[in-house]
Amino acid sequence: MKRRDYIIFAVLLGLAIAYPWINPPRYLLASVLLMFCYATVVSQWNLVFGLAGIFSLGQVAIFASGSYITAILGRYLEWSLWYTFPVAGVGGVFFSLLIGLACLRLRGIYVALLTLAVSQMMFILIQTDAMCSALNKKVNPATCVSFTGGAQGLGDFGSFGWRDVFGGRNWIIGDYYTMLVLLVIALIFTFIVTNSRIGLAFMALRDNEELARSRGISQFKYQLLVFAMSAFLTAVAGSFYAAHFGSVGTDLMGFALLLFLISMLVVGGIGRPWGPLLGAFLLMAADEVFKEASDWRNVGLGIVVLIFMVFLPEGLAGALDKLWNRGIQLVTGRLQSGGTRADGE
């Protein structure tokens, strides 16, 4: 992290805070706050994938588990959603620890396959859940809804409650700032972890596991740690997502969202500190553009992902970093002795 990065962070934060005051169209405000939510998820994914080098696809399932915990607690126990957020976070951590334990002996591609199987399993279990639940008779006696809501999803569990504070039209601004706070916390958390002693262990295991182990790093402990640490904010982002939309559904575990989020990671730059933010911005922007030609949305996204994987596997942040360094070389007129860093600071 250089001074440049702090300045970028401050400027972006200022822009984000100021944005609602220029009276943007409502749908854009909604898109930007969704981008904050996705960027939070992707920044945590980046810890697992980029920093620790573990190719887990389970983050989306953890995100979904956060949403469902909030929805179920809010709907059946009528908790205020604000109480459900930490519970969702902790629930996500436990879920992620389970996944991490299952993955302990696996490497590389096998981790991806196992985590994919786990999230598919979750998808199918909820999708096929059609047993009418007595709890739902209390909410609405006329209908048959299963405990998890099955393929229809769940609703009626409340919201952030900003409608009462800001009035009927401006509640979305409340949601916007809530999501922004979450993203800022996520970015600071990521920054601290990356530059801490624990982050060094993650990177060491990623770069050379055998060497890391013989330097005293327990693969067992740190793999579980990275699964746990990256899960809390992911699950909380999931519950914020539920609170914002007021409903949850199985599309949270579907391939479309998985691809969309992993595209953000890839397009932004795996393992780059600014990658998740760049990726989330770019893909949400592309999404807005392709929305005009709604049918072409997935075609466009698919091609964008393909092109990035083929030509820019280091992502936009990687490419920009190279450009920046080359620029500095041109300005100072001397060759840098070090070369660029792939990650970390």
């Binding site: 770069d207 050379n208 055998e210 060497l211 182990r213 013989s214 330097r215 790093i217 070369g339």
Partner: protein
């Protein structure tokens, strides 16, 4: 020095390591006392590196007993063995590619002495940074500390591995082929550094094919062949040992080395 009265720092008894039906390490015994410098030589595939893998827990022994300060370590994991005081380098030019030399060394300094608790500390202590500086100094790397590993030449990678191992302040340092692939001038550089370590009193087990390096540094030499120990003793005896000359050195090399040793004496 070998001394019957005291307990050996490292004691290996009847150590076997099988890969399928092949005994890569076959009924191996070895005592290492504090302050010893032991050189292990032998043809390719003799099981030297496998033996280091066994001691350091990378690839645990099939059977046998390994004691470090009287504590059995044969079934312990690599990270625990490192905490107990054995640290090693690797033959291949391993390293944490995306990190700088300083960070590479910091890994050893910060995790090598132990790493307690389920939620380990996040911040480096002053001692950790001091260990890094000391290790870099011993390996003559201070001036290049900020370079990224993936851009380093072979010599620096070898030294880097040694610095990382030293930063754990080991009781026993295992060095695997520190000069393989280096030119004679670079070999002398490494030799000087290892001599520095010996002067510091570090206990060392050394594997090397470059016999001049091995013989000049070690007080005791062990020659392995097909996983078995075929010779253990001083370097003079080595050069006149029939079996060693037969399976490993060859007459020519043995003569040349004898001349070299004579010149030095």
């Amino acid at each position: 020095m070998s001394n019957g009265d005291t307990q050996p720092l490292l004691a290996c008894r009847n150590v076997f390591k099988y890969f399928g039906g092949l005994a890569a390490v076959n009924d191996f015994d070895l005592d290492v006392y504090s302050g010893d410098v032991i050189g292990i030589g032998g043809p390719n595939g003799a099981g030297k590196t496998t033996f280091l893998d066994v001691i350091s827990g990378i690839n645990p022994a099939t059977s046998g007993e390994i004691l470090l300060d009287g504590i059995p370590i044969a079934n312990k994991k690599a990270d625990v063995i490192c905490h107990l005081g054995i640290s090693r380098t690797f033959q291949l030019n391993a390293g944490f590619e995306s990190m700088s030399i300083r960070e590479n060394t910091l890994v050893g300094a910060s995790f090598g002495r132990g790493d307690k608790g389920w939620f380990p500390r996040m911040i480096y202590s002053k001692e950790m940074h001091e260990r890094v500086e000391r290790a870099l100094e011993l390996c003559h790397l201070q001036d290049r500390a900020e370079l990224i590993v993936r851009d380093l030449p072979v010599l620096d990678r070898k030294l880097l591995l040694m610095a990382g191992a030293l930063a754990t302040e080991p009781k026993l340092l295992l060095i695997d082929e520190p000069v393989g692939g280096l030119n004679p001038h670079e070999v002398d550089d490494v030799m000087e550094i290892v001599q520095g370590l010996i002067a510091e009193g570090v206990t060392i087990i050394l594997i090397e094919h470059v016999m001049r390096f091995l013989l000049q540094l070690s007080e005791r030499v062990v020659i392995m062949h097909h996983g078995e120990k075929i010779y253990e003793g001083d370097s003079k005896g080595l050069l006149s040992d029939r079996k060693v000359v037969e399976v490993y050195l060859g007459e020519g090399t043995a003569d040349r080395l004898q001349h070299m040793m004579a010149e030095r004496a």
